[in-house]
């Protein structure tokens, strides 16, 4: 089978000991399996997980209505690395990542997902780590044909080339369908023990997981990135369109994950908490924004972004009052805080018939 491990092969090179591989680990099943396949060949594996600011983890869901007694959320990659018994490098690339999202060379997918640019960027970062930290090659859990934008026969070579990784990126789950990589040519990795998975069917991966005794992995359903989420992408487009430029700060993209977002006029937007834990989350973003809440009555915390006039602020108070207990009252005192100064406005909560669905971002 594996003639390429033959010492008589022209490309054979003695295997370094230890042979060290660095993998991209999301914590999903594919990257976990890819790591395990290499570990089972006696390769020393470490992984990296990149923080872009757009990762969907269960933590974001737990932002709302955390149920008492429910299992706390967990970071999939950390958990997978713990189960595999390998070292995980968590690397924050959020700052550099802005240009990937705002100006992707290869364009967007269905929403604002720059999948191909993103993968190239991550592999490029991993390749830099490989060289500086003394790893011999890179690997990912990519499977041919599994993702429409980045995991294709014509995009894999683009990733290899533009990331600078060239033939040093191995995809253990789909390797048998790909040209030989450098570690395979040298006989360092036994190709006969790699896989030839392809397509969107995940049954082969699940069967392999069973075979390897991997039982604790996150459900493959659902995306892992907010940029593929239609609602999220709409809010980000709204932000860009009213700012007049495609840019964002870390605070902006975090705020888009929480609350109701309403834009009654182009020059300002309200972010209204939907429960206590969202209110608490929003209270961390008061700086540089205007805070509105009902005085003495339970209700949401509202943040206003933009350049509202004094009249707009009164209207924002009426609108915010609709979303709390205050809406049942003929009149309510709303507290408005702007840069430490505090005003009270006596307003009539906005009646239902004056609400406009088009305000919802």
């Amino acid at each position: 089978m594996s003639t390429l491990t033959d010492p008589l092969s022209p490309t054979f090179e003695p295997r370094p000991e230890p042979l060290r591989a660095l993998g991209l680990l999301s914590g999903g099943l594919d990257s976990t399996l890819a790591a395990r396949l290499l570990m089972d060949q006696g390769i020393e594996v470490e992984c990296v997980n990149f923080h872009t600011g757009f990762c969907i983890q269960s933590h974001t869901g737990a932002l709302r209505n955390p149920k008492p007694g429910a299992a706390p959320p967990r970071h999939d990659a950390l958990h997978a690395a713990g189960n595999l018994g390998i070292r995980l490098h968590l690397v924050d690339i959020a700052e550099d990542y802005v240009r990937i999202v705002t100006d992707p060379k290869h364009g967007y997918g269905k929403n604002l997902n720059p999948c191909l640019d993103c993968k190239i960027f991550m592999v490029q970062k991993a390749h830099e780590m490989m060289r500086s930290m003394g790893f011999h090659f890179l690997f990912t859990g990519e499977v041919l044909g599994q993702r429409p934008m980045s995991q294709r026969r014509d995009t894999f070579p683009v990733i290899d080339r533009e990331s600078g990784a060239g033939g040093w990126l191995l995809r253990p789950l789909t390797a048998l369908r790909m040209p030989l990589t450098e570690p395979e040519k040298r006989g360092w990795v036994d190709r006969s023990r790699l896989m030839g998975f392809s397509g969107r069917n995940r049954k082969p991966q699940m069967a392999l997981a069973r075979q390897l005794g991997i039982v604790d992995y996150p459900s493959p359903a659902g995306g892992c990135c907010f940029l593929t989420d239609e609602n999220y992408a709409r809010k980000l487009r709204d932000l860009w369109s009213y700012r007049g430029e495609r840019s964002y700060a870390m605070e902006d993209i975090l705020l888009l994950k929480a609350g109701r977002h309403l834009r009654p006029a182009p020059h300002y937007k309200l972010v209204i908490g939907r429960d206590d834990s969202e209110n608490h989350f929003l209270s961390g973003f008061v700086e540089g924004r205007i805070l509105i809440k009902a005085r003495d009555i339970p209700g949401p915390l509202t943040l206003v972004e933009g350049t509202p006039s004094p009249d707009d602020l009164i209207f924002a108070c009426r609108l915010a009052a609709r979303f709390g207990r205050a809406r049942e009252l003929p009149e309510v005192a709303m507290v408005v805080e702007v840069q430490g100064s505090r005003e009270i406005h006596q307003v009539i909560p906005l009646p239902a018939h004056e609400m406009d669905e088009a305000w919802y971002v």
Binding site: N49, H51, C55, Q57, S58, H59, T60, A62, L63, P66, P72, P73, R74, H75, L78, H79, A81, G82, G85, I86, R87, L88, L90, D92, L254, K257, H280, F281, S283, G284
Partner: protein, 92 residues
């Protein structure tokens, strides 16, 4: 000082004395861990890091992070919405 009344974390006799404290309150995953990792880079083996957070995921993530980094997870406690966890560098 409120320390006298503070309950010790589960399974511990007393509240560990931290050499360094990371305040990650109101931050979402993975920021508390990223902040902890940043702090650890400037610490020596055997020193104690305290992480304060409001993300309930810290309960799972801090011990998992310790396992993947070779640190010793030294305990955690919660008070209301806030969590406090302790990690001993490089003693896993």
């Amino acid at each position: 000082m409120s320390d006298v009344r503070d309950p010790a974390p589960d399974g511990m006799d007393s509240v560990p004395v931290a050499d360094r404290v990371v305040d990650a309150r109101r931050l979402l995953c993975p920021m508390p861990i990223l902040k902890a990792e940043g702090a650890m880079r400037e610490m020596r083996d055997g020193e104690v890091l305290e992480v304060r957070a409001t993300d309930p995921g810290l309960r799972n993530d801090l011990p998992a992070w310790c396992r993947s980094q070779g640190h010793r997870f030294a305990g955690m406690r919660s008070q209301g919405r806030e969590l406090q966890g302790w990690v001993v560098k490089g003693m896993g």
